[in-house]
Amino acid sequence: MPFSIHTVSALVLRYVFLYTRHPVRFVELIFWPLVDLLVWGFLTIYLQKTAAAGFPASITFLIGGMILWDVLFRSQQGVAISFLEDVWTRNLLNVFVAPVRSVEYVAATCLVGVLRVGVTLVILTVVASLAYGFHLADLGLALIPFLGNLMLFGWFLGMVSTALIMRWGQAAESLAWAVPFFIQPLAAVFYPVSVLPWWLQPVAKALPCTPVFEGMRAVLSGQAAPWGQLQSALLLNLVWGALAAWFFAANLRHVRKTGLLVKVATQ
């Protein structure tokens, strides 16, 4: 059998034990996103009240952008931080000498990403609604492909981050947090792609998350959901997914060949 749900569930169980045993772990999932939400929420209120600036009501896209960005970020963190947890606790070798395929290991970390996104999204949605009157559900049916595309892209960035940490060791562990922010300026999270210099715009459009943020702004401005763009995002995600899988597999082969896997695991 090439893939075992049983193995994936056993790996996920470890993270469930970890999070339920240490409630302080939830702080990471709740505290930072809430801080971001408060900052962007109050900025939005300030801008809306600044009549002279004539900001439209759709300025709430700042809150939407922040929440959707967090979906991508938490999804990426689910993959990368789960790997780092195994490195930090010197458990990685135990996992790699157990009957676990690398695809099962990655799938388990992706599922952890889903759980992390779920917790953060619920909290942010409720607080944004109560504090700022921003209702994520206003995005309508488009919310499903929005979240799906961001989650997928987060997984793929997580795989790339993990592959880089495997290759460069714990010295590179800050990449687990940094990788998503490499692309954030180009992803049109808080401003449209048209703001970017012309030569950066093709790069922005090659990111599967860009149509999501552009689409969110369109919907909040009262326009129809850009379903065509969301389909393109899905296609882009397929390409990014294939590249991330190849990159991860190539790096895993490399670290097995050079002995770096053992070094990372026993540092």
Binding site: H6, T7, S9, A10, L11, L13, R14, F17, L18, R21, H22, E85, D86, T89, R90, N91, L93, N94, V95, F96, V97, A98, P99, V100, R101, R253, R256, K257, T258, G259, L261, V262, A265, T266
Partner: protein, 251 residues
């Protein structure tokens, strides 16, 4: 008596890291129910060999067959019947002992995991640690919990990397006796690396002594001592480490 079936066969294993040759054509076998010690001074190639046998590192050349199957073609199937414990790895320190063992019992698809965990905790005399936080255990307790993890799936082949390192003589003695007992009771095969020559003499039926990535000596502890005219394995080890003994014998 016919020779026992090899459960592990390493054939001309070589591993080169850049300019450095860590293993240079290492061949040996471990028979069913046999306990083999892999010895050598630091840098001799023991850890590299162990990592190759576990599939953590790929060889530059050579093959590993376990249970008659090629390791790289049947890795998952093989790993289900193998287990490993090392002084240099740990179970996640932030989980309780039973949580860690439950996760690994599920990974190894152990039937009736709770019962098996209880059995092993009792066997290793650590039932009282069931609800302890793994990171708070002493070195001796940690070693026994790691051994419990390594025995969960009733492995046919157990790879142990310096399992008694950092243990006091009392606990180390208990671990050695336990391993011997398990081997006699279950027919478990063991590949054992250690710097503690007493471990090797007490636990291993046979040893392979590596030096510079090659086999320097092979045989029972008694045979090796006799061949190199040494009073003890420790003297032999020190002689090799200080360059006073080579493959021919005393210089």
């Amino acid at each position: 008596m016919p020779p026992a079936t090899p459960i592990l066969e390493a054939d001309r294993l070589a591993k080169v890291f850049g300019e450095f040759t860590a293993l240079d054509g290492l061949s040996f076998t471990v028979a069913e129910g046999e306990s083999l010690g892999l010895l050598g001074v630091n840098g001799a190639g023991k850890t590299t060999a162990m990592n190759l046998l576990l599939g953590l590192t790929t060889p530059t050349s050579g093959t590993v067959r376990i249970f008659g199957l090629d390791l790289w073609k049947h890795r998952i199937e093989i790993l289900r019947q193998v287990n490993f414990s090392s002084a240099y790895t740990a179970l996640p320190s932030n989980l309780l002992v039973w949580q860690n063992l439950t996760v690994f019992a599920r990974l190894y698809r152990v039937p009736r995991p709770k019962q098996r965990i209880d059995e092993l905790l009792e066997l290793l005399d650590i039932s009282h640690l069931r609800k302890s936080v793994t990171g708070t255990l002493s070195a001796g307790e940690s070693t026994r919990v790691n051994l419990a993890k390594a025995l969960l799936n009733r492995p046919r082949l157990l790879l142990l990397d310096e399992p008694t390192a950092s243990l006091d003589p009392d606990i180390a003695d208990r671990v050695r006796k336990l391993l011997r007992h398990l081997q006699q009771e279950t027919g478990l095969s063991i590949l054992y690396t250690s710097h503690n020559m007493r471990d090797i003499e007490e636990v291993c039926d046979r040893l392979v002594f590596l030096h510079g990535g090659k086999v320097l000596a092979e045989g029972t502890p008694g045979e090796v001592k006799t061949r190199f005219n040494q009073a003890s394995l420790e003297d032999f080890f020190i002689g090799v480490a200080r360059g006073e003994i080579d493959a021919i014998g005393l210089k």
